[in-house]
């Protein structure tokens, strides 16, 4: 039996709290001690026999160089608001409404070559000779009266965004940190040299923990406290841009990108929206650049006998672990901060030797949502256990090698229940990890494919943490799937064209009309609709959630309405009689009406459609058989243990699958994983109450009573 008390745990050490650091390292079974953003380790810690991770944010902490070489700083396109011309001239102040501590106009001739002044009313470009720039303002002459105009312009980003966040949230008062763009040759020269020097100067470091690479996710602050965040997207590429990048792109692709490719009518191109073809090209271009530069850095780190782990958040744009270039970088480990199960699967599935989860809450006074954690009124042990309920079921499905924490260790003083909770989780994590080492958990013979425009580039996640995307049904679906005994893949519309459905039993499409998750204009392609029609008629299963296969502006709104048996009326059915139906008010499997939400305008369009639940005249959940296949429509999906059970039992019903093949329980508040090699069941109580459950596995069945949140390991 392995040592369940020690190993696979990364502890954030803190200078000045050496005793606490070593005490907790022992209690939590740490084998690694790390520093954190804003903390340093002392010799007493680094020489205590633990492996040492050191955090390096490569593009930050170079203010001296940045101030001496301002042309090496990072940039972005911004657009002014659209301003109405009340006469034939119009003056537009460019940074009006933007946070001027973050942005500085780049009015160099090279940058201004990319500026665009646009008549937004008729969509035409204002010719260069009609506008002039001076002192932060563009003056337009020859305006069409009562048209609206905007200026798209480049600016320098003069405050690194994570530093800006920490200043704002944790009341830091230190110097604002700037960030360098590795695309600038001088910066790149400097950064390589700096890393060489750093490695030389830090012999005690075993692992360089890169946080992360070069380009932060997009986070645009406004000047008005009533709307501090103007735009925030964890996976957008706006902050990678510069005249140099645009020139290199044009040289390679043979066409030039414009400001409008980024500004996109003033709305930018968020990850939640289907990308333009230009954006897809640009993303690939940046991914290759990031991988190439990252590889060079990793080689420096390796040359110094250290390992390179990368943190999968913050400045991670361009290093998608599921993009084709990631595996060539040579990272030794991937670290992901996790609130949820889907984030565990996101990390665990990446092609890299070590997967490490950074648990929440971070050892900070307040959490990401702004509520107290390690401060008065906080219950960090409660938060940690809530997140563990999500993490546990995901890592029971797919293993990770390590877990850990981040932040200021001294903040745990006065929260002894937290330190106890972390100790328990460490032990459970190591036991689950050991089971995986002995053999994989049993899976059902059901292949689930989630279809959206990003496909395998963005498996499991949408953009950001659960609570940032929880209005999207798909993140709830992903969270539910993350702990299920199913083979889950994420496919794009091109994957469907390439025959991905040949290897699929259940196809899921969950999103809102026009978004990246539903698919937007992809649904106008006849070959997609044809292939899915074939798939279902020949025996495949389809689950549509929210506004699946929705085509905006079409009268027949859902492209797959003929398979789902429902369509959405956004006005086009005003004169069409509705099919009368009787809602069954239960399903042929466990159902959870509360999980379904409600989507406006759903209507039955096939008399054979079975309606399980409805809100007045609007169906909430339906079933329909077509040919040899089956389809289900759900008006929405909100994750809960009971909702996840509904989804799992729906999938089993659609595919005629016996759940007990992978171990199952009869109480939705509990879940089981069956490890056939070690003949061990992991039975998990997800609820905060004591729960009775009957566990069934191939060859057996047993009644159990589980304590609140308990994990039972039962070898049979």
């Amino acid at each position: 039996m392995a040592d369940w008390k020690h190993g696979g745990f990364t502890l954030p050490g803190e200078a000045g709290y050496e005793k606490l650091t070593l005490q907790l390292a022992e209690k939590w079974g740490a084998d690694v001690i790390r520093d954190s953003d804003g903390t340093k380790l002392s010799d007493e810690i680094t020489k205590a026999g633990y492996r040492i991770y050191s955090t390096v944010c490569i593009i930050r902490e170079h203010n001296e160089f940045a101030l001496a070489h301002p042309e090496c700083q990072q940039q972005t396109f911004l657009s002014t608001d659209f301003v109405t011309a009340a006469g034939d001239t119009l003056e537009i102040p460019l940074l009006d409404g933007y946070f001027t501590e973050q942005f500085e106009i780049n009015s160099t001739p090279e940058a201004m070559g990319y500026w665009q002044v646009t008549d937004r009313t008729d969509g035409t470009a204002v010719p260069r000779e009609k506008w002039t720039y001076r002192d932060g303002r563009v003056l337009i002459r020859g305006c069409t009266k009562w048209h609206r105009y905007s200026v798209s312009f480049l600016c320098w980003r003069i405050w690194e965004e994570i530093n800006m966040y920490n200043h704002t949230t944790n009341h830091w008062t230190s110097e604002h940190l700037r960030q360098l763009d590795p695309r600038h040759p001088a910066a790149w020269e400097y950064l390589q040299k700096w890393l060489e020097d750093w490695c030389e100067a830090n012999p005690q470091t075993d692992v360089v923990r890169l946080t992360s690479l070069f380009y932060n996710f997009v986070w645009i602050f406004g000047s008005d406290a009533r709307r501090r965040t103007r735009f925030s997207d964890w996976a957008s590429y706006d902050f990678t841009v510069s005249p140099a990048a645009l020139k290199a792109f044009e040289a390679e692709y043979g066409y030039a990108l414009t400001a409008e490719d980024f500004i996109h009518g003033g709305m930018l191109q968020a990850t939640h929206r289907p990308p333009t073809a230009h954006k897809r090209d640009y993303m690939d271009f940046i991914q290759r650049f990031v991988a190439e530069k990252a590889k060079a850095l990793v080689e420096i780190i390796h040359r110094h006998g250290k390992q390179a782990y990368v943190f999968y958040d913050d400045s991670w744009v361009g290093m998608e672990p599921y993009a084709p270039y990631f595996r060539n970088v040579g990272f030794d480990g991937l670290i992901k901060c996790v609130f949820s199960g889907f984030e565990c699967r996101l990390c665990a599935g990446a092609e890299v030797p070590v997967h490490e989860l950074r648990f929440h809450p971070y050892l900070f006074p307040v959490g990401l949502g702004g509520l107290p954690t390690f401060s008065e009124g906080g219950h960090p042990e409660k938060d940690a256990e809530d997140y563990w309920m999500h993490v546990r079921r995901a890592i029971a499905r797919q293993p990770v090698q390590r877990i850990g924490l981040g932040g200021y260790l001294h903040l745990t003083e006065g929260f002894p229940e937290f330190t106890e909770a972390i100790e328990r989780m460490g032990i459970e994590f190591r036991r689950i990890k050991e089971l995986h080492e002995q053999g994989k958990p049993a899976e059902l013979p059901v292949k689930v494919a989630v279809l959206h425009v990003w496909g395998s580039l963005r498996p499991w996640t949408l953009s950001g943490h659960f609570h940032e995307t929880d209005r999207n049904d798909l993140i709830h679906v992903n969270e539910a799937l993350s702990g299920m005994p199913l083979q889950v893949k994420f496919i794009s519309f091109d994957d469907v064209r390439r025959g991905a459905l040949a290897d699929t039993d259940v196809l899921i499409n969950a999103g809102r009309a026009g978004d990246a998750w539903s698919g937007g204009d992809e649904w106008k392609a006849p070959e997609i609709v044809t292939e899915i029609t074939r798939f279902v008629n020949e025996g495949g299963s389809l689950i549509g959630i929210g506004e699946p296969s929705a085509v905006e502006g079409a009268d027949n709104r859902f492209a797959l309405s003929h398979l789902l048996g429902v369509d959405q009326d956004r006005g086009a059915y005003a004169c069409h009689g509705a099919w009368e139906f009787l809602a069954e008010k239960k399903g042929p499997f466990h159902t959870d009406r509360q999980a379904l939400g409600c989507t406006d305008g759903i209507r039955v369009i096939n008399p054979d459609t079975r309606v399980l639940f409805a809100k007045k005249e609007t169906p909430l959940m339906t079933l329909l058989k077509t040919g040899k296949g089956r389809a289900a429509y759900l008006a929405g999906f909100r994750y809960s243990p009971s909702a996840a059970r509904m989804l799992l039992e729906l999938i089993a019903w659609l595919t005629d699958t016996d759940l007990s093949r992978a171990g199952t329980t009869d109480n939705p508040e509990t879940e089981a994983a069956w490890f056939p090699e070690s003949r061990t069941l992991v039975v998990m109580n997800i609820s905060g109450e004591s729960e009775k459950t009957t566990v069934t596995w191939p060859g057996g069945s047993e009644k159990m009573v589980l304590k609140p949140r308990e994990t039972v390991f039962r070898t049979v």
Copy 2:
């Protein structure tokens, strides 16, 4: 003083109930006795000294001729459902799902020339050589597997729809009546002769009441009782079509219409949806044909010394009273059945000498909604009084000359409260009419323009009665406006191009994305947005309700969002920070939060937007000043006296108008109309309770207590 007890009242007489007929004629002050669909008058009635109306449905009651000349019957295009090809041939039964008592396939070579077989998956036409028709089925060869196909075909309509409705609803068992198409020369010859003969044979008739002309509104029945009505639209033109009409159209317009111009992707073209250019051409073509034929009939009637009144419902398609051809027909009167105020204004504003309202409830056992009226459990007096609350305020604004009833008079026996109520209404109607004759009621100096795609062709109405369109905010707005002291016009987008806003103080746009009332693609025209931007900046007022100026598929959803200060997020704002706001929870005028409903995704986009009400984070009502003008956004609008008062006071606030100029009350459950020539106030209690109110008019103010539903006429 006029005789308030007699005149302007049309009574439905009934043979066999002569005594009752004459008794009620006296009680209700009738000057006219009419027959009804399904009733006859006896000599005792027709010779009692009253003017006599006789109902003539010109295209119906000619079954003998129709059966002898089946090619003279009316037609329509239908489309099959879309059927999936599971192999390379596919057989589609054409009338599957349709009510075969209503339709019969027209497979004459002339008709089949217009049939279309379509691959609905890729939108291509199936060439004629690939399909064959036999015995009600089309066989398609060379299908693309898993594509969906449909057949659009012509069929005869073999059961006149109002007769079909009466059979279904009132359990009639008589022979199914057929209908003739006046476009067929033999039918037209026959109908003229028939009317000549009828006029000869009915010397007692003073007024021929045409019910209505030739083409019924579209009413397509299904075979399944679970969806009896497949499609129903009170203003669509599908039932006017025939090969002859299509040929005449092509000869005149130089291009051919196809089945798809009518079938429109299987959804038909409902009045609630913006019409295609082809549909607009076709409507004009039919309107001219209907007017020409109607004129010929009116001339026959006039030649026999009779008058011709036309009923503005049922077979009225093509005779829109606000189309340019109506006034040339020469009708002597227009009769409109009314539940609501907007219907009164619709009738009262038409260019014709006599406007007559047919009150509801109809003297039938059940009402249009299917609930009992003159039968057990019915309260016809209550229904009549409810409708009167709507009618009274509208006819106080614009006069009509006559009122009346329809149906079986004997059904009133046992409902004495009904006969009393009708007597009271008759007296009040005559008093209001007399005031109008003495001089117009005072109006506020405010010109309101309601903007939608139909403009002045469809003022006041949408399509059908209030209860059939009550999901649309605009019908509630129209109902509210119908009793207000304002100058109201209905304008189209072309009217805006032609400068209609020069003569407008308040512009209203109320609808849902993509519908005819919001405007759909009309909002993509820069000149429309520019003109409205000018209008507001120069001092005009804008009211947007629901999804005003919505452009489907656009990220910036409301084309007028810069004037409204709000936009709608259908997903495109997922990464955009929201403006914090504090809802004021009241307005600078009377407000009614309940009337506002809720529109999904509304968000503030201007920090100066005042939010009066919000549901959680979603604004329900906002105000914004732009330039010299003001705009208001309402998430929805549901008519009630209090809601109407909110709208009136909002208009007054937007335009700085003193309501008392036209007479006003301080209790929203009451309304006043001020007739300056006769110095008379009409004060109306709309509620079923006793109400206190203070009436203010130019030069005076008075407290009053009104009985439930009371009308007070006060000369000051």
